[in-house]
């Protein structure tokens, strides 16, 4: 944990362009679980999949309004990696952010039933996420 704290979290913001942020070490992430990251004002959920790949989505759960997506169970549906929201159990594709199952609920007012995804790169064991 000490390592992550030494990583600079602020990148160069230049309006509109994405900026890549160094977030943490790949080894800080637990296999097949999520972790939250705070990138400026934005809360992001990182997931380390079974094969080591890391993907990132919004941390906000559109159906409960709480910032909890990283705490869902990671799995697969027909081979596609997924996360199930921990509050009301909607299932999302981690490839596209699409909601595969609404579990009979509707999103909170002003929310879409899908997750924003963010590009991720792992360079030299360090996880980088691109935020707008």
């Amino acid at each position: 944990m000490s390592v992550t704290e030494e990583l600079p979290t602020a990148g160069a913001a230049d309006g509109g362009e994405v900026r890549w942020e160094r977030v943490c070490l790949h080894s800080d992430l637990l296999p097949e679980r999520g972790a939250a990251a705070l990138l400026g004002e934005t809360q992001v959920a990182l997931f380390r999949l079974a094969d080591g790949e890391v993907v990132a989505t919004q941390q906000l759960d559109p159906f409960s309004g709480a910032n909890v997506m990283s705490r869902g169970i990671v799995g697969t549906r027909a081979g596609v990696p997924t996360v199930a929201a921990p509050v009301y159990k909607q299932v999302y594709s981690l490839e596209t952010g699409e909601c595969l199952e609404t579990a009979g609920y509707s999103p909170r007012p002003g929310q879409e039933p899908r997750l924003v995804t963010y590009p991720v790169e792992v360079r030299d064991g360090v996880v980088h996420v691109a935020v707008p």
Binding site: L30, I73, G75, P86
Partner: protein, 881 residues
């Protein structure tokens, strides 16, 4: 309503099953409130399920036999006068007189007085120890008598002389009564006057097979025997033996007479209404007597020249009269006399023309005398149309064939009689929409299909609630289930028992598979038992079973935990846990958690309370006492959990498992240590039980309760396992729960010692943990076990499956290997890594949290409050260490 707008007066005489159905049907349809209904019931209780009378021995609680929705009797337009028989009718004046001499006027009168048990004129039929079998009072008296006789026959050394019982009459009722005697621990012999048992329903061949089956249950049968006299015992004056016409004799301590019923038509007779040749108030097909303002329904009605001693035709009559009183034109559709014996382990059913009395009918018979199986279909002369059937020893085809009565059978009729799994399975039956599936409640196949397609029912329970099919005798349930599932499949709803796309197995099958194959990780398990994913048409097929999902992962986690695989966060197991188990706390709506330390039996020291209070105060948590007698602290952020728990663990608290599908609490009353009425130390027992089962993972949460006496202050019967103290020890009840569909626990065993109690609960819980479905609570699980509660009892108390030693050993392992999950987390830096708010800012609070004050504490702000800015505090409130 009359012209003045006031409701008209309707009087119902009799408060039995048919009266209940009648009032229910009328109130459901009479939305305008045309009728003010007064029901006069001779019995001192609400209408109850007489068909299920024998269940009384199991549940002992008359309330459990209550019919329908009790709210019916709170309806302002309905008045139930209990213990208030009607003694006279004045048709001229249109009044009835009750037993207190009060006179009540009526506009319309419905007689639903049912029948009496017939008592044949055998000398000695009034001796103490001779019973009939018709009402709750009858069976309660019978039970008391048998128990008294047993106590009297028990010597000081504990030697028990068996109580000898005889049942006169070998019909449906007699056999049920004989089964009940056996269940009470008495011996039973059935005395039948005719050539064979159940002569009304089945033919001689079936009767022979049935006798073998009944003998196999340890019940004696004497066919072709007339009872000449019942003789008193010399010393006691109680019934002592039976003398038969053939010179034989049988020693007895108790006799049940079940030779038939006699319609209670005395009011009809006295008021001059026409009476049938063999009794009963004569009615037309509209159920009206010769007096246009008097109707008769149920067993008292003589319709089509006879009275019918079954509930389904009575219900049909109730519906007819309800319809007529509201201006309808309904007529009695004819009697469905299909019957099925309700004696556990003896399958007998018949329907239609079971005796082959139709002209030119032919019979197809399949018999296996060695196995006690006899099956017969009666068909029209071209062997196509089904006219009736008899099933003994294997009534499996009954449920699906009965609704085909009068229709053509597809394919070879003989195929329907072959044993299941003999290869040439019966051709699939597609019932026509108008086929009557549930005769008790008059529900057709079409209505069941409609429940799925139009009322969006997605399982059998919902279909039962929606249509009432299967809610009376239950014999139609297999068919209701089949039709429901077929219809659901058609609607594209998957009804397979598979856990999810990754496992074809049910939870119980997977449990066994994992146990037998001795697997310890999810990767091994899904590699061995998982299945390749099914993909949409046209998509790339997927070869590997994938990596599980939010359904199978927690199931496997629970199975691994039950089989003792160490800490739930160790190694790969951590990836399987739901967020609650993953951080050992309960997720709340705003993403924070609640924290519940264990307080065994609801007992907590003042010092413990102070610690809990101080922790809550220091971390700004909202506190509430739970229904399980402990304290819940809300609003803990994920990164605070270890600090909170370090304080609690240091003070001697441990995890309460409020987050797990696991043992939650053992609620108790204060019991004999303080209470004036207590007969056992209920708190002591509750603490012992909670410490024994703490940490036990299960298919759903489990709760226990212990009360110190029959006053039941701990509400133990609302729990999965309820323990109630008696003078001699403990009674244990199982299968209760609160929640969405509340259930009362049912009596499982009586007067157990402490040691017996623990063993009984050990086995019950372990059997449940191993065999229940995912998220199936104990009540539903018991229903699913073959033989229901009795089936579970045999496994637990009599070791009928030979697994008791194994269950005992499994529980012993659980008790031995228990460790406090929270203490283990605090000692392991690797596990503590999970408790950071942000991977790049582990101690930073989620900035979106917001709270407002309420009644001296805080609660999450609503959307509107956030917008208006009344929020008092973000997450950073008060933390003080």
């Amino acid at each position: 309503m009359d012209s003045s707008g006031a409701p008209r007066k309707l009087v119902v005489v009799g408060g039995g099953m048919v009266a209940q159905r009648f009032v229910e049907a009328l109130r459901a349809r009479d939305t305008a409130g045309t009728w003010q209904v007064d029901v006069f019931a001779e019995e001192p209780r609400k209408p109850y399920d007489r068909v299920a009378l024998t269940k009384y021995f199991e549940v002992r609680d008359p309330e459990e036999l209550t019919l329908g929705d009790p709210a019916l009797w709170d309806d302002p337009l309905v008045t139930l006068h209990r213990d208030c028989a009607v003694t006279a009718i004045d048709r001229e004046a249109r009044t009835v007189t009750d037993r207190l001499g009060r006179v009540h006027p009526y506009d319309e009168l419905v007689l639903a007085t049912g029948s009496n048990a017939a008592m044949p004129p055998i000398p000695g039929n009034d001796l103490p120890g001779v019973f009939v079998y018709r009402t709750i009072d009858d069976v309660a008296a019978l039970r008391g008598w048998v128990e008294e006789k047993r106590a009297a026959g028990t010597t000081e050394k504990g030697f028990v002389k068996p109580v000898r019982g005889a049942v006169i009459g070998g019909g449906l009722l007699g056999l049920e009564a004989a089964g009940a005697l056996k269940a009470l621990g008495a011996e039973a012999t059935v005395i039948e006057f005719g050539t064979h048992l159940m002569g009304v329903q089945i033919d001689l061949g079936g009767g022979h097979a049935l006798k073998r089956l009944i003998n196999g249950k340890g019940i004696g049968v004497r066919p072709e025997t007339a009872t000449k006299e019942m003789k008193a015992h010399r010393r006691t004056g109680h019934v002592g033996h039976l003398d038969f016409a053939d010179g034989g004799r049988l020693d007895v301590d108790v006799v049940v007479v079940a030779t038939g019923v006699r319609p209670r038509d005395e009011l009809g007779r006295a008021s001059g209404l026409a009476i049938g040749e063999r009794g009963g108030v004569v009615v037309d097909l509209d159920c009206r007597t010769e007096d246009p303002n008097v109707w008769a329904i149920g067993e008292v009605a003589c319709i089509e020249g006879r009275c019918i001693g079954l509930v389904a035709p009575g219900y049909a009559m109730a519906e007819v009269v309800a319809d007529r009183l509201l201006g309808g034109e309904a007529t009695f559709p004819g009697a469905d006399t299909a019957t099925k014996l309700k004696l556990s382990g003896v399958d007998v059913a018949s329907f239609g023309d079971a005796h082959g009395r139709t002209e030119d009918s032919m019979e197809v018979v399949w018999a296996d005398p060695a196995a006690g199986v006899y099956k017969k279909l009666v068909l029209s002369d071209d062997a196509r149309t089904l006219l009736g059937g008899v099933f003994v020893g294997d009534a499996a085809p009954y449920a699906s064939l009965r609704p085909m009565l009068g229709s053509e059978l597809p394919g070879d009729p003989g195929a329907f009689l072959l044993p299941e799994g003999s290869g040439n399975g019966a051709p699939a039956l597609e019932l026509p929409d108008d086929a009557n599936v549930c005769s008790c409640n008059n529900v057709t196949a079409g209505q069941i299909r409609g429940a799925v397609t139009e009322h969006a029912c997605t399982d059998v329970a919902a279909v039962k609630a929606c249509t009432r099919a299967g809610t009376t005798c239950g014999s139609c349930l297999p068919l209701v289930k089949k039709i429901t599932n077929t219809e659901l499949e058609r609607a594209g709803v998957t009804v397979s028992n598979a856990l999810c796309e990754h496992f074809e197995l049910t939870r119980a099958q997977l449990f066994d598979a994992v146990r037998v194959a001795d697997l310890h990780t999810f990767t091994e398990i899904i590699g061995r038992f998982g299945r390749a994913a099914v993909v949409a048409d046209g998509a790339e097929p997927v070869a590997s079973p994938g990596r599980g999902c939010d359904i199978c992962k927690p199931v496997v986690a629970s199975i691994l935990a039950s089989l003792g695989n160490g800490h739930i966060l160790s190694g790969e197991q951590a990836t399987l846990q739901d967020t609650n188990d993953h951080v050992l706390a309960n997720l709340q709506k705003d993403g924070t958690y609640s924290v519940v330390p264990r307080m065994p039996g609801g007992e907590v020291t003042p010092d413990g309370l102070i610690v809990v209070g101080q922790v809550a105060k220091d971390f700004g948590l909202y506190t509430k006492v739970t229904g399980g007698q402990r304290i819940d602290m809300f609003g803990a952020r994920i990164e605070q959990l270890p600090d909170i728990w370090r304080r609690l663990v240091d003070a001697g608290f441990e995890s309460g498992h409020a987050y797990g599908k696991a043992l939650r609490t053992v609620k108790s009353c204060v019991g004999s240590t303080w209470c004036r009425y207590g007969v056992q130390d209920s708190v002591g027992m509750a603490v012992e039980l909670e410490l024994r089962y703490r940490g036990l993972r299960s298919p759903h949460k489990i709760k226990l309760g212990v009360s110190g006496c029959a006053r039941e202050c701990a509400e133990a019967r609302g729990k999965d396992v309820g323990v109630i103290a008696t003078e001699k020890g403990w009674n244990v009840y199982v299968g209760g729960n609160g929640g969405f569909t509340p259930r009362h626990a049912r009596l499982f065993a009586e007067d157990l010692t402490d040691e017996e109690l623990l063993r009984t609960i050990d086995r019950f819980l372990m059997y449940y943990v191993r065999t229940a479905d995912r998220l199936q609570r104990t009540a539903a699980w018991i229903e699913d076990i073959e033989g229901g509660l009795e089936g579970v009892r045999q496994v637990v108390m009599e070791d009928s499956l030979g697994i008791a030693a194994d269950l005992d050993a499994a529980m012993a392992r659980h008790v031995e290997n228990y460790e406090d999950e929270w203490r283990a987390v605090l000692e392991d830096p690797e596990k503590l890594r999970r408790f950071s708010s942000f991977v790049n800012a582990p101690k930073t609070a989620d900035p979106s949290l917001a709270y407002v004050p309420e009644r001296g504490q805080v609660r999450p702000a609503t959307e509107a409050e956030r917008a208006s800015g009344v929020v008092i505090a973000g997450p950073k409130l008060e933390v003080r260490r």
